[in-house]
Amino acid sequence: MSENRSADIVVIGSGVAGALVASELAQAGASVLMLEAGPRLERWRIVENYRNLANKDDNQRPYPASTLAPHPEYGPDNNYLVLKGPDASSYSSQYLRVVGGTTWHWAASAWRYLPNDFRMQSVYGVGRDWAIAYDDLEPYYYRAEVELGVSGPNDGTDLGSPRKQAYPMDHLPLSYIDQRFSDVLNVNGYKLVSEPVARNSRPYDTRPTCCGNNNCMPICPIAAMYSGIVHVAKAERAGTQLIANAVVYRLEVDAHDKIVAALYFDANGNSQRVTGQYFVLAANALESVKILLMSSTDKWKNGLANSSDQVGRNLMDHPGTGVTFLANESLWPGRGPMEMTSIVDHRDGPFRRDWAAKKLHLNNQVQTRHATIKALAMGLTGPKLDQEIRYRSAHTVNINSFHDILPDPENRMRLSDQKDALGLPRPEITYQIGDYTKRSAVHTRESYGQIAALFGGTEISFDDHFAPNNHLMGSVIMGRDPRDSVVDHECRTHDHDNLFLATSGVMASASSVNCTLTIAALSLHIADTLKHALGKSA
């Protein structure tokens, strides 16, 4: 690697954001160096780890954390994230530090945000406005859908985000439970829709059609589901030099506030330095903050890009609640992918002045494991045990939700006093969920009860604890005013004109849907900006 220690573009992080930028720039002829803190993992190894795993619900465990670049592990808990505040446990997030990033395991939901999500303050008087509008991002949303391979309802279903082109692929046929839910809910006042997903409904981009292994999380064994590793491969084949196990611990800044180098520890713990013309920090919403804060200098006492003191603040996620019940009919969850449909009645409307938007989604995960745990706990044996497992597997319904949350500067990440193996500080998070979200959750609980009643639900069990959904947003927030935001509409830092942040951390509102497609769209926007800057636009 010593022969190429400098590049037009240095990308830090190899998840979907960094890999898209690297792939686009390398294909345009730029020299690209990509640094990834974690190791390379083979898909087949991840699949085998999953199959050898006793707890199939542990999405992190098949990706063993590297010693030098740990990521959160919960079985057992490695306490990588230092969590504080009233709702600390609601930010016990999962993300991966491996080549390819966290989209190795996701549900592949590929939603666009709504136009009003970009102007919450202007329209509803709460939260913040983005520095970019939906219409500006629309072409990039479409490009992202093409790059990731999104299948969606091409049947005229209005998801509230105006589109100019059809989805690259039609949606998959619904599973039995999803179809039954659609039939029942849609005639009872709910709007249940087929989700747009980055999952193949036909062969696409040399990857196969989904064949329903039903373990999208923690790993799609056949790559029918998109993962960032796809664009890592494309980036490398276009000439990007990827260095794995490269833990960036500092960005160097010159007297003109330009970033000149990235310093990292290699696999042997030795410090290395690479230089570049432009730097793209794409190390996820928390690790990117860590690098900016660790890079403080006499001039940049609070860390780079942080003249606004907003780096690390405004942490958001989609606080989730759930319900589980037994339906009075066999619904057979588990055929097809893990999630296919959502209830979208409350994604937008005047109510957002007072309480959070939300999306409810039906869990199509196979229920045999939970059914067996429950049946064993009932003390059953022999044929009665079999019968109970079968009954519960067929009748169990689980619904979950994402709630919007407002950006609050007090919800923040700092550098902890606790250190990792390299002596680098761990992320310390303070988190509290406000009444705006809690009011919405009360309403969600009522909906759960009504839906359970529509299926003659028994053993109704509400899970009111706000679960983390690993959609880490707000930490390097976008805005027009350099005094209260970190990046501008191009995701360029206000403070350093050759430093771009490709991460969900820039997102200025949480909305009620998964953030990956928006990250991808913003990353393609960054790629275009950089191509233009380098004179490599087509």
């Binding site: 898909r43 190894r45 199959r51 040399t206 790559a223 491969a233």
Partner: protein, 463 residues
């Protein structure tokens, strides 16, 4: 010449131009209509069918993006890239200025209007058998039924000595049989039609007959099976072990029409293209005729095959032995081949390897890809996958080669996986080495002519 041979092999399925054979067969079958003069519209329609049977578009149309028959499709060969020509009726870019005699000469003798020799990527040795009627119908179709596309397709520029097109004259002297298809009066009309289809139009022998050192089809071994780059085109003779002796005529028809016969074989690589672009469009009568004829091809037994390739294998059950023993790992080295199989194959082909109930994901047991003594097709399928669209339905398996977006497996891993699947589901006597995988990855065994040509080029450079 080695260029020519290699090219012929690489491209055989792509540009099986030889609609000739079909027309001869037609002559036999349609004897009663022969005497009448068909209308122009009928001639065009018949010519279109013949062009499909001969799969002209496979080479003369750039897949997906190209205009029909406008040429310019680059066919890789060990000798260099050969570009197909524009065969639309454009007068400046295509063959619009060709007389019927010139068209016939190109088709049957491989000689262009300007007198230059074609490379035998164009299967004119098969098309030489075409009937006069069929040549005429093809001419009518290409002149009147195909939209003209102006613009000369990219020209082929092979390195020395293959740039010397006149050398083909010598090759033709040795290997081009100018005789037309002659019906066997003792055989049925269907048999004769099948012989014509197989021999002239579909040019089956181009792949399924082994080649000699000058890359011409071996005279003594028709349909004994041949190597086509990375792929093995199996024995089509009536031998019950090595060939199609154990296949019924309806089974052959189903395979040719769909590319899939559960418990037997699935078409991949060049054969998938032949099914997709040509065979699926043939009439039932023509497919039956092909089957009728193939069942009578004199048996040639391959000494290293003692059991029919589709009879090997049984369900595997290693999954239970794998679980609960291995720790969570970040190793890039597999513990054993069963692990590679489980992770890379079993998600579709199922842990027992018997595929799904509907056989969309086929069983690996009782599958010719794993049953031949020559395991090239198994390795080629792992590297390149399967992509076959028949009647609007696509059968797709991803490849695991260097350009895979699913998983790139190494030569060692593919060799281990091949040997594991051969032992469990296929011919246990077959074996795949790491070097074998590297060779298939590199396009298959290099014909002698290709190897010799490298020497010739060195000598030429020296001069």
């Amino acid at each position: 010449m080695s260029n020519l041979n290699s090219i012929a092999m690489c491209t055989r399925l792509r540009d099986l131009a030889p609609s000739l054979i079909l027309s001869v067969a037609l002559a036999g079958v349609l004897g009663s209509t022969q005497a009448q003069t068909p209308s122009n519209a009928e001639q065009i329609k018949r010519g279109a069918y013949l062009a499909t049977a001969a799969d002209c578009a496979a080479c003369h149309t750039v897949p997906k993006t190209g205009q029909p028959f406008a040429g310019g499709y680059g066919i890789d060969s060990p000798l260099g890239t050969i570009y197909s020509s524009n065969i639309t009726p454009s007068k400046n870019g295509g063959i619009g200025a060709y007389t019927e005699a010139q068209f016939e000469r190109a088709l049957r003798e491989g000689i262009r209007a300007d007198g230059a020799h074609l490379y035998p990527a164009m299967p004119y040795t098969s098309y030489a058998k075409l009937s006069d009627d069929d040549v005429q119908a093809l001419y009518t179709y290409f002149m009147q039924g195909v939209p003209a596309v102006d613009g000369i397709a990219q020209k082929t520029a092979l390195p020395f000595p293959f740039n010397l097109r006149f050398t083909m004259a010598g090759w033709n002297l040795l290997f081009l049989d100018h005789s037309r298809f002659k019906p066997e009066p003792a055989q049925s009309a269907a048999w004769n039609r099948g012989a014509y289809l197989v021999g002239a139009l579909e040019h089956c022998s181009a792949c399924h007959t082994p080649r000699n050192v000058l890359m011409a089809e071996q005279e003594g071994s028709p349909f004994a099976g041949g190597q086509l780059g990375a792929w093995y085109a199996p024995n089509l003779t009536s031998d019950p072990v090595s060939g199609l002796g154990g296949w019924s005529e309806p089974e052959i028809v189903q395979y040719l029409r769909t590319g899939q016969l559960a418990g037997r074989a699935q078409a991949a690589g060049p054969m998938a293209e032949a099914v997709q672009d040509s065979l699926q469009f043939l009439t039932d009568d023509d497919l039956k005729a092909i089957a009728t004829y193939l069942k009578t091809v004199p048996a040639i037994h391959l000494a290293n095959e003692t059991q029919a390739p589709y009879t090997f294998g049984a369900a595997a059950n290693d999954e239970v032995l794998l679980r609960g023993t291995a720790p969570i790992s970040d190793s890039t080295i597999p513990l054993n081949p069963a692990e590679l199989f489980s992770a890379n194959c079993a998600s579709c082909h199922q842990s027992k390897g018997l595929g799904t109930q509907d056989q969309y994901y086929p069983s690996l047991a009782h599958n010719t890809a794993l049953g031949h003594a020559n395991p090239s097709n198994l390795v080629a399928v792992i590297l390149h996958g399967v992509n076959r669209t028949v009647d609007g339905h696509t059968v797709f398996m991803p490849g695991f080669g260097a350009d895979s977006l699913v998983t790139s497996l190494s030569d060692d891993e593919i060799a281990a996986l091949s040997n594991y699947t051969l032992q469990r589901f296929g011919n246990p006597a077959a074996h795949v080495s790491t070097a074998d995988v590297a060779m298939v990855r590199d396009g298959g065994p290099q014909p002698l002519l290709g190897r010799v040509s490298a020497w010739l080029r060195r000598i030429a450079d020296f001069w």
